[in-house]
């Protein structure tokens, strides 16, 4: 290789590295800034010019979040709600995905599609009136049920994609061997679809965890989930940015960690669900 070629290759590499840095930096910077704010004492969060590194780093903000509000309870609520809504969605959504994929029920998939399109907010008014009527408002059930609006379509959607990609031969062979439809599903299709179920679980869990609007209207003091709680930490003095950033970080950290560790599954699910999404 001639020196000129070497130089060109080097320039290319540097330019490429720069491009990578540019596209990754917004994500990194916002989360770093969030972390930085959460580690600063109140008065330092408002310093101008601001500095990324806290002068006197402190964990007080995190302590304050858990001490001054029942954040632990909100965390437990969030865990209960997200797991329940996800498991219910899996229990009914996986068979449904199988049925739709194998029976080619296009009309049903359109129904799921439309429910994916409809803004969550529009379910809120009728469901709110329904819960008024049923008087469930002091329990976690309304929240779990409304979260099904999010989780069921995700699960069904991802599962349709996975079952469609499974070869039919195995089940056909099983049916010939005398298995009934259910046995075919239970013993042949289900084990094969395990990766798909994992993906559906993760996506459904994250979207349920992140949901905000249902809780804002339906949750009470003891039934609040984390995103609603963090919004309520907007204190009397909005100048307390430190605790606010700390609370925000507590809410979103589990999801972020999950994302980095199992990004392969998320990528697979979103592209499968996504490409089908149109």
């Amino acid at each position: 290789m001639s020196p000129a070629e070497l130089l060109r290759a080097l320039v290319r590499k540097v330019a490429f590295g720069f491009a990578v840095a540019v596209i990754v930096s917004p994500a990194i910077l916002v989360f770093l800034w969030m972390l930085s704010l959460s580690l600063k004492p109140d008065i330092e969060t408002l310093d101008y010019p601001p500095s990324l590194l806290p002068e006197t780093p402190t964990l007080d903000n995190f302590v304050a979040v858990f001490r001054d509000s029942p954040f632990l309870r909100y965390t437990i609520n969030s865990i209960i709600v997200s797991f329940s809504a996800t498991f219910i969605a899996l229990a009914i959504g996986v068979p449904a995905g199988y049925g739709i994929a194998k029976a080619g029920a296009a009309k049903l998939s359109v129904l799921i599609l439309i429910s994916r399109i409809t803004p969550g907010l529009s379910y809120l008014i009728p469901l709110f009136i329904l819960f008024q009527f049923l008087g469930l408002t002091a329990t976690l059930w309304p929240i779990i049920i409304t979260h099904l609006v999010i989780t069921v379509p995700i699960v069904v959607w991802v599962m349709i994609g996975f079952f469609e990609s499974l070869p039919m031969e195995l089940e056909e062979a099983a049916l010939i061997d005398g298995c009934n439809l259910w046995q075919g599903f239970r013993h042949i299709a289900l084990p094969l679809a395990r990766p798909g179920i994992v993906v559906a679980f993760i996506l459904s869990f994250i979207f349920s965890w992140n949901n905000f609007i249902f809780g804002v209207v339906l949750a009470g003091r003891e039934t609040r989930t984390l995103p609603v709680a963090v919004y309520n930490v907007l204190t009397f003095e909005q100048i307390s940015w430190g605790p606010l950033a700390a609370a925000a970080l507590v809410v979103t950290l589990p999801v972020l960690i999950l994302t980095v560790f199992i990004q392969r599954e998320i990528v697979a699910g979103l592209t499968a669900g996504g490409v089908k999404g149109g």
């Binding site: 004492p41 109140d42 008065i43 408002l46 007080d60 302590v63 304050a64 979040v65 001490r67 001054d68 509000s69 709110f128 819960f131 008024q132 008087g135 408002t137 002091a138 804002v216 209207v217 009470g220 003091r221 003891e222 919004y231 309520n232 930490v233 907007l234 204190t235 009397f236 003095e237 909005q238 100048i239 307390s240 605790p243």
Partner: protein
């Protein structure tokens, strides 16, 4: 999350005070006190333990008054044996939550802090709250030291509905005062204004963007901006609604809105159209605003060295006389009992305690807000504490003389604030005042007509 419910920060604040020797004397709300009277509430043979073992839920709007009752909640629990589950939610959400819960037919809370300037009429129309008159009269239910006549007439008027029923007991009267930064005033040799014209001149003189100082801080955000405009329209001799007729597009209404919008636009910090009180408060606490027009109930964090850079430099000014009248606007909150609860007795005990003489004295002493009772202002401990900062007390007593409710007593207050507030935001943004207000008034008129029909 706030200082009051936060013991360690309290300690650190004290150490801060110790460190900066001279500062301690300046911080108006620092000293503890009033603990001596805690037993006074149990006198008179009244049975506070009647509802022992019950558990009540209290819905509070986030703010100093919520902090106050939460800080002393244990005292009530010990006094009565009642367990209290309370929580503070930011005021806008709390109002929505209260609305949603009451319309659902059964509330999850037993006691509710209700904003008198927003939801009083709505609560009356929806028949949300117990009529408290029979409770007040009943000696078996009400402790003698509750002493209802100790409340000021304006406080009593504020909670009394047009049909004579009393939906809540007032816990806070929020007068709009002019917070001013004495240091900034002194630097430019400006005195506190005695008239509206002087105020505008002072704003102009003190406005110094190069030094990062805004002459004027006031809410620009839709809905929220209706409270400072109230001060202006009152000073132009009008109420928002007079005899069922909207005055917002009257010549005085338009002139007052234009005047307010101009101050915010030309002498407020950039981005003021999106400012609610909390943004104004942040900027003022940073020492970057000369004057801020807002409720006296927002004073507390300004005097907290962990949150404010201007402790001891704050003046509490009475809003100066305007072109046509000397007025300031008044807002308030009260505690009511949900009509749907079956723990009315326990709920009423809580309200008596929360609005009692001791708690109200603490409210004044700690700078948590202006109590609607007369007795705190005569309390020797309280007055002694403000010897060096008499101004704080005077701003309330003097404002009381010129105060009128800032918002109209109608059901659709929220919509009124929203629709007219959008108009005002647009004017601050540079739109023509007359056009905007005629449009907004016309938009709200059918809603008002429908309500009174």
């Amino acid at each position: 999350m706030t200082r009051q419910s936060n013991p360690s920060r309290e300690v650190s604040r004290r150490s801060v005070l110790k460190a900066g020797a001279g500062l301690a004397g300046l911080s108006a709300f620092a000293a503890p006190g009033l603990m001596t009277h805690a037993k006074a509430q149990t006198s008179g043979g009244f049975d506070w333990k009647k509802y022992k073992g019950e558990k009540i839920e209290v819905s509070l709007a986030k703010g100093p008054r919520g902090d106050l009752v939460q800080k002393y909640r244990k005292e009530f629990e010990e006094l009565t044996g009642i367990t209290v589950g309370d929580e503070q939610i930011p005021e806008q959400q709390q109002r929505q939550k209260v609305l949603i819960e009451f319309t659902s037919g059964k509330t999850t809370f037993d006691v509710v802090m209700i904003s008198l300037h927003v939801q009083k009429k709505l609560a009356a129309k929806g028949n949300w709250l117990e009529d408290l008159r029979p409770y007040i009269k009943d000696a078996a239910l009400t402790a003698p030291e509750f002493d209802y006549p100790d409340f000021t007439q304006s406080g009593i008027d504020y909670v009394t509905n047009t049909d004579g029923t009393v939906g809540s007991i007032p816990c806070n009267l929020d007068y709009f005062v002019l917070f001013w930064n004495k240091e900034i005033f002194a630097k430019k040799g400006v005195a506190y204004p005695k008239t509206y014209e002087e105020m505008v001149a002072a704003v102009k003189k003190l406005h110094d963007p190069a030094a990062g100082v805004s002459g004027w801080l006031g809410r620009g955000l839709k809905n929220a901006n209706m409270t400072p405009w109230a001060n202006f329209i009152l000073s132009w001799g009008k109420d928002y609604i007079e005899n069922g007729k909207l005055q917002t597009d009257s010549p005085d209404g338009i002139a007052s809105a234009d005047a307010y919008a101009k101050l915010v636009r030309e002498f407020g910090p950039p981005g003021s159209v999106g400012y609610n009180w909390n943004e104004c408060q942040s900027v003022f606490a940073q020492g970057r605003g000369a004057m801020w027009l807002d409720g006296i109930g927002f004073a507390l964090p300004l005097e907290d060295p962990t949150k404010s850079r201007i402790v001891g430099k704050i003046g509490y000014g009475i809003y100066p006389p305007g072109p046509k009248a000397h007025r300031t606007s008044l807002y308030g909150d009260g505690y009511g009992i949900s009509r749907t609860t079956n723990k009315k007795g326990a709920a009423w005990l809580y309200i008596q305690w929360a609005t009692g003489k001791l708690m109200q004295a603490r409210q004044l002493q700690g700078g948590y807000g202006c109590p609607p009772r007369k007795s705190p202002f005569g309390n020797a401990d309280v007055v002694a504490q403000f010897r060096s900062q008499r101004e704080f007390l005077d701003s309330m007593l003097e404002s009381a003389k010129i105060a009128r409710p800032g918002l109209p007593e109608i059901v659709a207050v929220t919509e009124f604030r929203d629709i007219l507030g959008i108009g005002l935001t647009n004017i601050i943004g540079g739109a023509d005042a007359a056009t905007e207000l005629k449009r907004a008034t016309a938009e709200f008129k059918p809603i008002l007509d429908k309500e009174s029909a």
